[in-house]
Symmetry: C2
Amino acid sequence: MVMRKMYLFSFCILFPGIIATHNGYAQELLTGYVNPLIGTDKMGHTYPGATVPFGSVQLSPETDTISYEENGHYNKPVYRYCAGYQYADKTIVGFAHTHFSGTGHSDLGDLLVMPTVGKLQWNPGTATHPEWGYRSPYAHTEEQAVPGYYKVRLQRYNILAELTATTRTGMHRYTFPTSDSAHILLDMEYGIYNYPDKNVWSFVRVENDTLVTGYRQTNGWGRTRTVYFAMSFSKPFRGYSWQNNGKKQVYRGFWRKWEQERNFPEMAGPHLKACFDFSVREGEPVMIKMALSPVSTANALENMAAEAPGWDFDKVRHNAQGLWEQELGKAVIDADKDTKTNFYTALYHVYINPTMYMDVNGEYRGLDQNVHRAGKEAGNYTTFSLWDTYRALHPLFNILQPRRNAAMINSMLAHYDQSVHHMLPVWSNSANENWCMIGYHAVSVIADAAVKDVPGVDYSRALNACVATAGNMKYDGLGYYLALGYVPEDKNGASVSKTLEYAYDDWCIAQLAAKVGQTDVATTFEKRAHNYRNVYDKYTGYMRPRLSTGSFKSPFDVLNTDEPGYIEGNAWNYSLYVPHAPDDMIKMMGGSRRFSEHLDSLFTMELPDSFFAHTEDVTREGIIGNYVHGNEPSHHVAYLYNYCGDAWKTQERVRMIMKKMYRPVPDGLGGNDDCGQMSAWYIFSALGFYPVAPGSDRYDIGSPAVSKAVLQLENGKTLTINTVKQSDRNVYVKSVRLNGAVLHRNYITHAELMRGGELVFEMSGKPVKH
Amino acid sequence: MVMRKMYLFSFCILFPGIIATHNGYAQELLTGYVNPLIGTDKMGHTYPGATVPFGSVQLSPETDTISYEENGHYNKPVYRYCAGYQYADKTIVGFAHTHFSGTGHSDLGDLLVMPTVGKLQWNPGTATHPEWGYRSPYAHTEEQAVPGYYKVRLQRYNILAELTATTRTGMHRYTFPTSDSAHILLDMEYGIYNYPDKNVWSFVRVENDTLVTGYRQTNGWGRTRTVYFAMSFSKPFRGYSWQNNGKKQVYRGFWRKWEQERNFPEMAGPHLKACFDFSVREGEPVMIKMALSPVSTANALENMAAEAPGWDFDKVRHNAQGLWEQELGKAVIDADKDTKTNFYTALYHVYINPTMYMDVNGEYRGLDQNVHRAGKEAGNYTTFSLWDTYRALHPLFNILQPRRNAAMINSMLAHYDQSVHHMLPVWSNSANENWCMIGYHAVSVIADAAVKDVPGVDYSRALNACVATAGNMKYDGLGYYLALGYVPEDKNGASVSKTLEYAYDDWCIAQLAAKVGQTDVATTFEKRAHNYRNVYDKYTGYMRPRLSTGSFKSPFDVLNTDEPGYIEGNAWNYSLYVPHAPDDMIKMMGGSRRFSEHLDSLFTMELPDSFFAHTEDVTREGIIGNYVHGNEPSHHVAYLYNYCGDAWKTQERVRMIMKKMYRPVPDGLGGNDDCGQMSAWYIFSALGFYPVAPGSDRYDIGSPAVSKAVLQLENGKTLTINTVKQSDRNVYVKSVRLNGAVLHRNYITHAELMRGGELVFEMSGKPVKH
């Protein structure tokens, strides 16, 4: 609490204007409710470090505890350390500058910095034997994580490490004990999920005794990826040395020309580490600014000069906090403390990705590896985890961040222009396409924005990109899909998942085409949108893999998460994936009554332990019955009761899911946050509605978990959501009134929300059955 | 001869203006005297392929005949294949786009292209078993090499291969037999001197069925070097496939998403090869344009569009020839046919390096790996082999190419600005410094231009760069040199060579400082210029390694080419290296008489076979007595007789050296051409004078080997050199008259030459002893 007061004090001085924008909540800092440690334990795969909204830099501790092998290569599991940090770990390896938030696959962790004192060590050591290397034990009691700021004491060295960030610059403040052998290590070999040939090249120049520049080039999830940097020190180093994983690399064969081991200002090789040496007195802080660029070290320097010109760490930290207050303030709620923590932490996670991928001068590296320019105001974005984020994250942006969402869509269109496949992004990772997961869900994001009249996008041009993407016959079974109306499992795996998602995406394109008046295109894709019917097996009542012969595949297990035909979901769950035509799906599956009971069984069945044995992404924590909230294909499912006359069950289920899957503790997330998708589901659901089918303007009414919410819209309007009698027991919606008029339906439209005003939910402890 | 006439005909049509510039030689194409095959056998290390003057592209055949090893890695000697081609080889592996001309160390050979028919093969095979791979036998009888054009029949496939080039684009024309399985292979793994980890990364995009873009990144002599390309085909390929040295690389783990083996348009990995398939009819040419860029594929495309927009191979070829005619025409001679062949071939080799390293839009990659801009007119240059070329190549440019030499100097100053060592280039290789050889001879090039009033350089700024370079205490024994007045052999190798060359370079800086009026700097460096005295051992009469104790090193062998203390020269030869103070050196070594006899013994002594056993760079062909013309430290030596009253011996020796070391046959060069230095020595000597000490304005008179020469100077003046009674026997100079006035000295100044007019050598069969 003392810390919170201090924040308020200094924050008021630095940002007198911002606090006034939190209508009616002027006294309270919303960042105080954000706990970046939520999701850092087990499944969430979030990181606790410092970042600003949608920032390029994510400066955060690494706790990788897998042994550093004899051969000198890291061998980390690809899954567990997606965010570099696991709460249960006892040691910190250092602080790296780039991290994914909530992914289920690994990359990044660039430019590890570690301060030490004493004997210089070049390898990180192990979790059980940190003394074999440079890593240090730490304790959560000596750790603090708030938006834009992270602090921890490195116990082994008694160094206080503090981190903050601007959009493109990470700032470190290390307060040392007295020592004549203090070191700041820059480990360019380190990376998250480093396999032997992942480090392609690195290059370092010591420009002078306070400035280092260079780059790290990797072949990882982003196959051809380079991070350029400029690293500035607040205090001149006395000297420096380097390593290239035991091999000499700098100017081989010319060892007599230069003494290359010490103070040699140019290093290159695939496994570089550099160490800078200092004499420090107790309490003396040494600060570092590390600016990143996707283009060049010259641009990194320009970024640093523009964003972090001085050495006032606290000012940068408060700037970061101010940016978070500004974004969080777009949705201010009243609720109990845990709900506030959950809500603002979710909103924090929502505003981390996609990330800015452009220098202050407007330059960025494109998919073709050439340097391109984007509008400096709008910016260019990367980290599109679209299979996840089309569902709720981008729709949420259409309410709270439409300008930014338009810039993201324009970034997708630039990606399309640069794509040699002539395709919109599937998973965009720093000038690379990693093709993760299935479908072409960029079209959903675009259609949703079009239907919701988000300005700033040329939707006709966008339609061309969507049609070209959906017409790439070589892509992932799409040729078969177009020929047969479904993906045949004997020709291309995960065929049911792909067929269903293509059908939904095609419906999105139809909506976009209709919106821009291309009726023939709309007709074509409306027809494709019905392809979900082609994998429905009337006999079993599930969406089931078909072969190219036309017959269904046997045997068939509806619960097995490894069942061929599906990806990140079993047949049971995926069979509910027709978001754009729930009525037809329900009819196909036996009508409302039968479907409602079918859904009931989903949430109540008991699964054997063996169910959880196989899949890394599915654990007991992420599951309610057979409902898997930890994987995205089910995210709309609880809202399907709305389509069979049992809206009260939707209300009950979404409240239950919120309670079980979002808890204000480090292991509080029931699955990977997936670049904000899990959190966006929470924000929507806590506000009382959810977009079952992005691409339509409809939000299904659920059950709000807040007492009140005030949304500041970019069009200048304010939407106030009020609840009456809402409590943990009163989860059922008795009535909904929009600006005084009772809503005689269980959805609300985007246009209605955007007009602002007041939406009132009257709640009850008893189901309201219509 | 038929070919020559055809040239003339088409050339006249295309370049009606150029021929008229060859004063008095309008009927004759000078390119007809150039034989690019000279120097391709054994020691010369020249290449026979197509390039334009100072071009970025050197498109030439590769004949590497070392076995392709089981493990798939090339294992070639670093020395023999410096230029990729050895005349004695019987097979051609393909045609690569970058080559050094005459170096003694290897790199480049980027982007090997090989046309084949029949079964697709991915490895090159071996010299003895070409059928194990894609290579083909060829015969010199079916080969033609002229400036800007190379032709050969690939016997195995009966493909006629023709090559030509613009500055930044290589153009191929392959005339195939009828085949449904014709291939054009792009082997990105191939490179000259490829050791296992040399290929760092490569990236290829098949943009459409006639355009491929990408880059090749290597860690070779240029440690951090990337060549970007755009490759355009005149005929659409039917399909394509790729390999990554047996390893899958493209989107690993997502094999089900795409069929990646065939027609997959994006490839990446360190060992890429791509093969493009065609159906062709007999006599059907398939053409390729390969544009290079140091910056990006976008720039490569821009280069291609600017320089080679169409598909008229013959026009590009004649353009290339025209550029050569233009440059060769700056020095038109009358002489016997062999001398003409030697002269114009030498001039051709002189005008290959340094090479343009800038895109048509003015962008280039700097030493800091950032993208920089140079003046589009002037350009930015690389391939500075300065230990070689400061001696005669750059001085020759001050006469025939002063504008270009100024641009080269400005490129060196940009290199200095970008150097983290704050040093001028030693050996600049495509945005890399490879530190090859010793000294800091860029200062000689700068001082020579300054003293000769070459415009276009800020010589005061240049002086700062020279002083900083000569003050880098960490560089190659320079700290010791400054402290002790010599480099001590126990602290830093090749200490005598370094001491002598530093002393000369320091004298150059003194000349430059005096020229720009910085007299204190001039005084300081004038003092340093005397340091050659510190390694002179009166007892033995030679320059001899000293230890840090001050005593001379023992034992001491004046003939051993491996003797510690020297590099590319033995004590005997290096002891004559005081170009800036020959009078003092002669006095120190016993006076004129004794020195003249000492020189005589150099040229006449007989060395045992064991002398030639050790050093790759020194063979019997490159040596006269103990005079090693194949290595540069002796290049001024024959002219030293001028300083002891025996000018007739200089005249005799230089004529002998010209005869022995420059013969109009493939093995006609007595040593590596070294980026034009060997050839520049010939041009000067054949014209009758030589710059013993670049940095002075003096050219020592030798013995002209031409009957007449007309030099077109950039200042609009013409210098005509006429000889009277010159012949193979009349090698002695009886008199020299400049514009009618007899020259009463054995040198001529730069200013005298630049004023134009007539220089007449009257020759005699008898020595003229003064």
